[in-house]
């Protein structure tokens, strides 16, 4: 089936099979291998991307459902100016070890920050129910998301001035 959508700001036309997953579209067809697949039961969250601004597990989304959608994956988070404040926060808080869960964590964290004007460690921990990390014990990921959310809110204030 033919679909047209926007991926990381670029227009994409694709003939996709009915069973083709968004994660496969990104990884196999578009070469966007930053989106990882860590399980087959839609639980680990390594594959989280944004569809129309909301975080979704791309291993659970059929590509055919994406006609007209806007998809953002980890590759589009940093800008020419450098890392996004959330990525920077993961770096500065040692919020990653092996790096495999990291893209999904960052994408999930961005959605958390967008939806939670008043972040807290507790709500971050609950938010991460669908994101597994086997290395960090989550502690520094939580710290990173709080720091990243604070930096994003600061930046928004700066831009608002």
């Amino acid at each position: 089936m033919h679909i047209s959508l926007t991926v990381n700001g670029k227009s994409v036309q694709a003939d996709v099979a009915p069973e083709e997953l968004l994660s496969d579209l990104l990884r196999e067809r578009l070469g966007l291998t930053g989106t990882h697949v860590g399980c087959d039961t839609s639980q680990c969250g390594a594959c989280v991307v944004h569809v129309d601004g909301r975080s979704v597990k791309s291993c659970t989304v059929l590509a055919v459902a994406l006609q007209g959608s806007t998809v953002t994956s980890i590759e589009a988070v940093a800008s020419a100016a450098g890392l996004h404040p959330m990525q920077k926060a993961f770096h500065e808080n040692h919020g990653l070890q092996c790096g495999f869960c990291t893209p999904g964590m960052v994408m999930s964290a961005l959605d958390y920050a967008a939806r939670n004007p008043d972040p807290s460690a507790e709500s971050v921990r609950h938010w991460l129910e669908g994101n597994f990390c086997r290395c960090t014990g989550y502690q520094n990921i939580v710290a990173a998301i709080l720091a990243g959310a604070a930096a994003m809110s600061e930046r928004a204030k700066e831009l608002g001035k």
């Binding site: 966007l32 990882h36 680990c44 890392l83 770096h91 990653l96 092996c98 495999f100 869960c101």
Partner: protein, 795 residues
């Protein structure tokens, strides 16, 4: 510290950038020209005879290039997967090492045993074809657990091993231990299970094989913690590929935890398959495939008893363990419940007599091997549970009984009765710090507050010692290992003074690209961003042994110190020539070569340039260039130790555990990067708490069917399961390596299971509970509480 990026700095990680931008290079990300895809048909039976395999229909399907079976392996003379660390049993009996074919031959021995390997143009085609392969099985009775395996008349996993015993091993002085029990004032006893675990690194295993007929050369990309060992084992023992015709690459690897330190069937099959079809072959495990093909961990059933004097002094320890090997021997299988277990039963105590027997048995389950901690968490769990039982029975405070039996600070080096000589350690200091931090003495009041809210509060304590920094080659060889356990480093100085370091250690989350750069930065007096760390490619890096057993810093880091010091020594010779001074008068400090007592100096980069542009250079006595290599073989293991304390509440209505605090104080030797060390320790603790409270790999004991084969059934720890974990250090330096470092990667999984279960038991002690098996799930705890009666909450 000679630079702000040297030893002791919490330098932010150099490797983060690519992972944060989605530009990691994992095996599953790699595409090769003309690449085909592989899929496995795996056994649905735990134990069955293969009567026939019909692959004609599958072969006729679109895109299918090959359907390979155990018979094809036979025809091509492909060997079995070797065991690299057998051990010697009682009376000198060898470990039984039945053949482990990469694809099942004649019989399948566990659910997931690979039966056919299908190669096709696309993954979907390969998977569809796998479903079209017809296999006639004759199902056989299976053994799903160790207690089933040792029953008289139990089905034999291997026909020529009728009792299923792989090796019956012992350690320690039996007579002296028996004597210690005779006449002891008190004997404490415990029976326990160390639950089977699935390591589950977030990146599933993957491999790509590529055969280049023009060079008769093979390349294997694999998610391995030790590419050089895969190259040696697979090339030499399985496929018969000469070492100079084989390259193994392990690029970014998404977590290992031991699961990726074995040579697996799939590695050999993609490599062999690539020659069969003449094109690259890729295989990526699905998570549920990982559950039935990754080696599992732990899985012990143990009875232990401790003899004590009236005042609580440990007199003797007797331990009998049955350990699961699974349906075949994995690479290090027999070594884990023996050499990495028995010698750790001394803990940090002065117990004079210890005797340990371990029966390692075959079952119809996935092979069992090292998983983060590997033998040492099991030993710590036995010992520290038993100490708590003894303390309760004798009415002695749990901290006090540990203090009373602890190796005193002045007693190091300390020879235990079970093989090990601890070079250094301050477990008493760790314990004191942890007790203070946890406000151990104020617990009764907090328990009362919890009781007022209807909650059962418990506090638990554990000390531990681990043997890591694997390993002194000569000692390890005497314990059975078939290979060296040194590590290698090469320091390549570029003409302009930047440095590339090639490490035999493999980085898969540990932060090596930063830590090793800090060591080079410290020694050479150059910023860490002038140092690049290279690993994971047998064509780029000299032979090395890889990453496992918390060895990378203590052994690999020591090799790096050695190689760097060779660079400095050569630099001094060059500088002496340039200054027309005696070599003995040249000092190297803060990145400069100086003539002692003068202000004449040359920066490191100038010496590097001179080595590559050798005009003013002692060519008559010295080779140009500035690149040195070193191999470091440690003289002993390293012995991190520490004390952990957990406090928790149990809801008696639901059996749910809420962890309230976790405090770790560890003696890990010299710390290179405190931020990375804290990350390693917290991550390990959470993984260990996973074992204590959540994770359980369950086989049906009679059918051998895996009942917890996905993340739906196997409970991985989640972010909201944990409070803030407090990590502190209490350092004594390792006395026998140049850095003084001991290791920190595994202590979390070693200390935390016993700590948490001791706290759970403490919370339930008013019900007469003296042990709870892991994982302490709500279901298990609720039943214990319900069976104890009406479950009144007693402060």
């Amino acid at each position: 510290m000679t630079s702000s990026t040297g030893i002791g700095a919490s330098l932010l990680r150099k490797e983060d950038q690519r992972f944060l931008m989605g530009r990691g290079n994992y095996v599953s990300d790699i595409k090769r020209p003309g690449m085909t895809m592989g899929a496995f048909l795996r056994s649905p039976h735990a134990h069955a005879r293969i009567l026939a395999i019909r692959s004609d229909a599958a072969l006729a399907m679109p895109g299918v290039l090959a359907v390979l079976t155990g018979e094809d392996l036979r025809a091509d003379g492909v060997g079995g997967l070797p065991c690299a660390w057998p051990v010697t049993g009682k009376g000198g009996a060898p470990t039984k090492e039945p053949t482990h074919p990469p694809l099942a031959q004649d019989k399948v021995r566990h659910v997931g045993d690979p039966v056919a390997f299908i190669i096709a143009e696309s993954l979907l085609q390969a998977r569809n074809a796998a479903e079209a392969v017809e296999v006639d099985y004759e199902a056989l009775p299976a053994v799903g657990g160790v207690l089933e395996a040792i029953k008289p008349g139990a089905p034999a996993v291997f026909e020529d091993i009728p009792d299923n015993v792989c090796v019956d091993w012992e350690l320690g002085d039996k007579a002296a231990t028996d004597a210690a029990f005779q006449g002891a004032a008190h004997v404490a006893r415990i029976s326990l299970v160390n639950n089977r675990l699935v390591g589950n690194p977030m990146e599933p295993r993957a491999a790509i094989g590529e055969y280049d007929s023009s060079r008769e050369h093979y390349t294997l990309w694999t998610t391995s913690q030790f590419p050089h060992i895969v190259k040696l084992l697979m090339g030499n023992f399985v496929l018969g590929i000469a070492q100079h015709k084989l390259r193994v690459v392990s690029p970014d690897v998404g977590g290992g935890f031991g699961v990726k330190q074995f040579h697996y069937a799939e590695e050999a099959l993609v490599t062999w398959g690539s020659r069969r079809v003449g094109r690259p072959v890729k295989w990526v495990a699905e998570r549920s495939e990982g559950f039935i093909s990754d080696a599992h961990g732990r899985d012990h059933v143990t009875e232990a008893e401790m003899a004590l004097s009236e005042d609580g002094h440990f007199l003797g320890l007797r331990v009998r363990t049955i350990a699961n090997m699974g349906g075949y021997l994995s690479t290090f299988g027999p070594n884990i419940p023996t050499n990495l277990y028995g010698p750790l039963l001394a803990g940090v105590y002065t117990t004079p007599a210890i005797y340990c027997e371990v029966k390692a048995v075959f079952t119809n389950t996935v092979p069992v091997d090292a998983y983060r901690g590997a033998g040492r968490p099991e030993a710590t769990f036995v010992l520290e549970r038993l100490v708590d039982v003894a303390a309760a029975e004798l009415g002695i405070d749990r901290a006090e009984i540990r203090r009373r039996n602890m190796i005193p600070p002045g007693a190091y080096p300390y020879q235990t009765p079970v093989m090990m000589e601890y070079d250094s350690g301050d477990p008493g200091g760790c314990l004191a710090k942890a007790l203070l931090k946890a406000d151990w003495d104020g617990f009764a009041q907090r328990k009362g507050q919890s009781a007022a809210r209807g909650k059962l509060r418990g506090i638990g304590l554990c000390t531990y010692v681990e043997a890591c920094g694997l390993a002194p080659s000569r000692i390890a060889a005497s314990l059975g290992v078939r290979g060296g356990l040194f590590e290698s480093a090469a320091v390549r100085v570029h003409p302009t003074g930047e440095v590339t370091v090639l490490m035999g250690s493999h980085n898969h989350g540990q932060g090596h690209e930063t830590t090793f750069a800090q060591i080079a930065s410290e020694l050479l007096g150059i910023p860490a961003d002038k140092v690049e760390i290279v690993f994971g490619d047998t064509d780029r890096v000299q032979f090395g042994l890889g990453t496992y057993g918390s060895r990378s810093l203590a052994v690999g880091g020591s090799a790096l110190v050695k190689a760097t010091n060779k660079v400095i020594t050569k630099g001094k010779k060059i500088a002496a020539h340039m200054f027309e001074a005696a070599e003995a008068d040249i000092e190297f400090k803060d990145g400069s070569f100086t003539v002692a007592g003068t202000d004449r100096h040359k920066p490191f980069a100038e010496i590097a340039l001179s080595a590559h542009f050798p005009v003013n250079f002692p060519l008559e006595t010295l080779e140009p260039g500035l690149e040195e290599q070193a191999f470091y073989d440690p003289v002993n293991f390293t012995f991190p130790c520490g004390a952990h304390i957990a406090e928790l509440e149990i809801d008696p209505e639901t059996g749910t555990v809420e962890l309230l605090s976790y405090i770790a104080v560890d003696d890990i030797g010299t710390v290179i990067n405190p931020m990375i060390v804290e990350g390693q320790i917290v991550g390990g603790i959470v993984q260990g708490i996973g074992q204590a409270l959540y994770e359980d790999c369950i086989y049906d004991q009679e059918s051998g069917q895996l009942l917890s084969g996905s993340f739906m059934d196997y409970c991985l720890p989640r972010a909201d399961n944990f409070p803030l974990i407090s990590v502190e250090t209490n350092i004594t330096a390792c006395t026998h390596n140049p850095l003084g470092s001991k290791g920190c990667g595994e202590l979390g999984t070693i200390g935390s299971p016993a700590t948490v279960i001791n706290a759970v038991v403490d919370a339930l002690s008013h019900l007469g509970v003296n042990h709870v098996d892991m994982p302490a799930t709500p279901n298990r705890l609720w039943r214990i509480i319900a069976n104890a009666g009406a479950a009144p909450v007693v402060p």
